[in-house]
């Protein structure tokens, strides 16, 4: 008995099995089709499996039918029955409505309605002769954003200085014409501000006696002062460009301006707010919390409306804001409140051990934040960040409510044109808008996936 069981238990491998290629059915397209399309509806060995296979077949047929319907409707509207040429609305109207389309023929998209005024869709009421300035801005933006988005492109530092430090002002001057009315008192004001800061710094130096504090601070102040005065000078300088008031800006260009400013401001501001909300200092935490909860708790439209009443309260009398600047401020603040919560979510997920590991090595609070926790937190919440960006980009369409002619606003105004009245204009316009919005948001989404994969550093244990 004991002997027999011993025999059964004993096993010694005499030969090792070398690695072999997988069987043919396990690779390639055949496997893919089988696993993804067929396997779920080819199991009939029990009653349950048979029923579920049949259900699966019906489901598959239904999905195929639904896809076919959607594609065919879209195809007929956008291409099959669409009108591609024409010089006014009559080309897209049936004959019984003073149009040129024979009765009984389906009328699809009225593309000439779009192409005829594509310039307006792109640039709003920006004067045609000056539109090169918009295009030049696009080229500059692309030249800076594309290398910034490529992880291996050289010159990251100079690239980001140009993109975040120089480009905004170049774009402002190019688009608006610059030559702004910057009075001598602005210069005086900033000179006084820097003077006061320098004095405060000197007092601090004397009180705290921290070595090199004054020199270090003075250096930073000097750089900031040079930057501010350079900006004032550039904005006030007459480059000979015609002044284009912001009420003439519009279309996709305005949407991009608001969207990009919102994106560029909301991320850093959101990060600061998130840190502030987690701060150990009660006052800092309170301010951040109030800011975030107020902006998150109120609809964007309300804030946009209120901005015309509220903003002037915060600034000296006589300072008037044009609608665009108001919209920019509101959109940026609004999305930073959302961004702050996204970033805070990432920070919450960082294990305490990461802080302790960094502290034990002697890293300071800011070093720990900038080198250890924030990079990890941001990486974790890339989907949330891009979600907020996409939401922000689409929400810019709300500025049409306060009378700005963004991409959506310009369509509304185009639809009023009696010369171009046609039954499918509205559908065509919205389809066009949807496609353009989608191209931008989908690119953002893809870029975020790419970044996620690039930053993926092995498996978490």
């Amino acid at each position: 008995m004991a002997n027999a069981s011993k025999k059964e238990l004993l096993y010694v491998r005499t030969e090792m099995v070398p690695q072999q290629p997988p069987p043919a059915g396990e690779v390639g397209i055949r496997k893919w089709i089988w696993e993804n399309l067929l396997s779920s509806m080819s199991k009939f060995s029990t009653v349950g499996e048979t029923i579920s296979s049949i259900l699966m077949m019906f489901l598959t047929l239904f999905v195929i039918w639904a896809i076919y319907m959607v594609v065919s409707i879209l195809y007929h509207f956008a291409l099959g029955d669409a009108i591609f040429t024409g010089t006014d609305g009559s080309f897209c109207r049936p004959v019984d409505n003073q149009g040129k389309i024979p009765l009984g023929q389906n009328i699809g998209a009225c593309w000439p309605f779009i192409t005829h005024r594509i310039g307006q869709f792109m640039n709003g009421f920006y004067p045609e002769a000056e539109r090169w300035r918009v295009y030049l801005t696009y080229i500059l933006a692309a030249a800076l954003i594309i290398p910034a988005a490529m992880p291996d492109a050289p010159g990251k530092t100079i690239n980001s200085i140009l993109l975040f430090g120089v480009f905004p002002f170049v774009a402002t001057v190019l688009l608006s014409g610059g030559h702004m009315d910057i009075s001598a008192s602005s210069y005086t004001f900033w000179a006084v501000v820097f003077g006061v800061l320098l004095a405060v710094l000197a007092v601090f130096q004397i009180v705290t006696k921290i070595e090199g504090l004054f020199m270090k601070g003075a250096k930073i102040l000097a750089i900031a002062a040079i930057a501010i005065f350079a900006i004032l000078f550039v904005l006030g300088f007459d480059f000979g460009l015609a002044y284009i008031e912001t009420s003439k800006w519009g279309g996709l260009m305005l949407t991009l301006v608001i969207g990009l400013v919102g994106i560029v401001v909301s991320l850093p501001l959101g990060i600061i707010l998130a840190l502030a909300r987690r701060s150990h200092m009660p006052a800092v935490r309170l301010v951040a919390t109030i800011f975030i909860e107020v902006f998150r708790g109120v609809p964007l439209i309300t804030v946009l409306f209120m901005s015309s009443v509220m903003l002037p309260l915060f600034f000296p009398e006589g300072v008037s804001f044009d609608k665009l600047i108001r919209a920019l401020i509101v959109v940026a603040l609004f999305s930073s409140a959302y961004m702050a919560e996204v970033v805070r979510g990432g920070l919450q997920a960082i294990p305490k051990g990461q802080y302790e590991g960094a502290q034990a090595l002697g890293l300071s609070f800011w070093q720990t934040n900038n080198l250890i926790t924030m990079p990890q937190a941001l990486k974790m919440v890339i989907p949330g960040i891009v979600n907020t960006f996409i939401g922000l980009f689409k929400d810019t369409s709300l500025v049409s409510i306060i009378g700005l002619f963004d991409f959506l606003g310009i369509l509304d105004s185009a639809l009023q044109d009696t010369k171009w009245l046609a039954p499918t204009n509205q559908m065509t316009g919205y389809l066009f808008l949807a496609i353009v919005y989608w191209i931008f948001t989908f690119s953002m989404s893809r870029y975020s996936m790419y970044t996620e994969n690039r930053l993926h550093t092995g498996h978490k244990r």
């Binding site: 502290q359 034990a360 090595l361 070093q367 990890q376 550093t457 092995g458 244990r461």
Partner: protein, 255 residues
């Protein structure tokens, strides 16, 4: 052997002095009247039942936890609320954790060079040379460009030790460095720690690895209920425990 023994000599310089130290978590008196003097070159093993305050004690030494009463002097610097002094101490005191706490978004080499570059302001090339030296010492130079998530637990803990050593600390603290590891990995980490002990490093080590304690420790400290109950040389401690609590504890861990 004679050489190793000589290296393990203890100087009479004082590395850490803790006197009358008490700590509370809210109402809970977690450390009670701790008095402990550690000489430079000493290797101390701290053991005791779960929740006895071992981690809390060594975490007070580099101010990951704040004590409320008494005095802690590390390397001649008293721990107070002065951030500058805390930073100074943290630069000289390395620490290894039970769960490694490596930075998962940085490569092994970057993990090791981060603090020297940012805290000690060492030029990058020098920091990398030092890092490679210590990675070789913990026997994983070939993993330098991998991310922590791609290493085994034992390898990660060795990286964590190398990371601390890159700051060239005078004192090393270990908080159960092997208790999250499989037996074969425990061995590779302990080897590194023995090597470190033989080089004369001042070490405070919370561990239940009794073999390690016998081999390198010159003192074993037993804690219970936030107090130091007994301390003795490892041989005396294990073979001839004095207090009943110690006897009970030893009977529980040595089956």
């Amino acid at each position: 052997m004679a050489d190793a023994a000589k290296k393990m000599e203890i100087s009479d310089e004082i590395a850490i002095e803790i006197s009358g130290m008490n700590k509370w978590y809210g109402d809970f008196h977690v450390l009670r009247d701790i008095n402990l003097t550690v000489q430079r070159g000493e290797r101390i093993v701290i053991c005791g039942p779960s929740g006895s305050g071992k981690s809390t004690l060594i975490r007070c030494i580099n101010r990951l936890e704040e004590h409320q009463k008494g005095k802690i002097v590390v390397d001649g610097i008293e721990l107070t609320n002065d951030l500058k002094k805390i930073d100074e101490i943290r630069r000289e005191v390395g620490m290894c954790f039970q769960h490694f706490n490596l930075f998962p978004h940085l490569t092994v080499l970057e993990n090791c060079t981060l603090a020297p570059i940012w805290v000690r302001k060492t030029p990058k090339a020098d920091a990398e040379a030092v890092a490679m030296k210590y990675l070789e010492r913990v026997k994983i130079p070939e993993q330098a460009d991998k991310y922590p998530g791609q290493l085994s637990g034992g390898q990660q803990q060795r990286v964590a030790i190398a990371r601390s050593l890159c700051m060239e600390p005078k004192i090393m603290l270990f908080d159960e460095p092997t208790s999250a590891l499989d037996p074969e990995m425990i061995k590779e980490v302990l080897e590194v720690m023995v090597d470190l002990a033989e080089s004369g490093m001042t070490m405070l080590c919370v561990t239940h690895e009794m073999g390690f304690a016998r081999k390198v420790a010159n003192r074993v400290i037993f804690m219970d209920e936030g107090q130091i109950i007994e301390q003795n040389s490892p041989d005396q401690f294990f073979d001839n425990p004095k207090s009943d609590r110690t006897k009970l504890f030893l009977s529980q861990i040595i089956h």
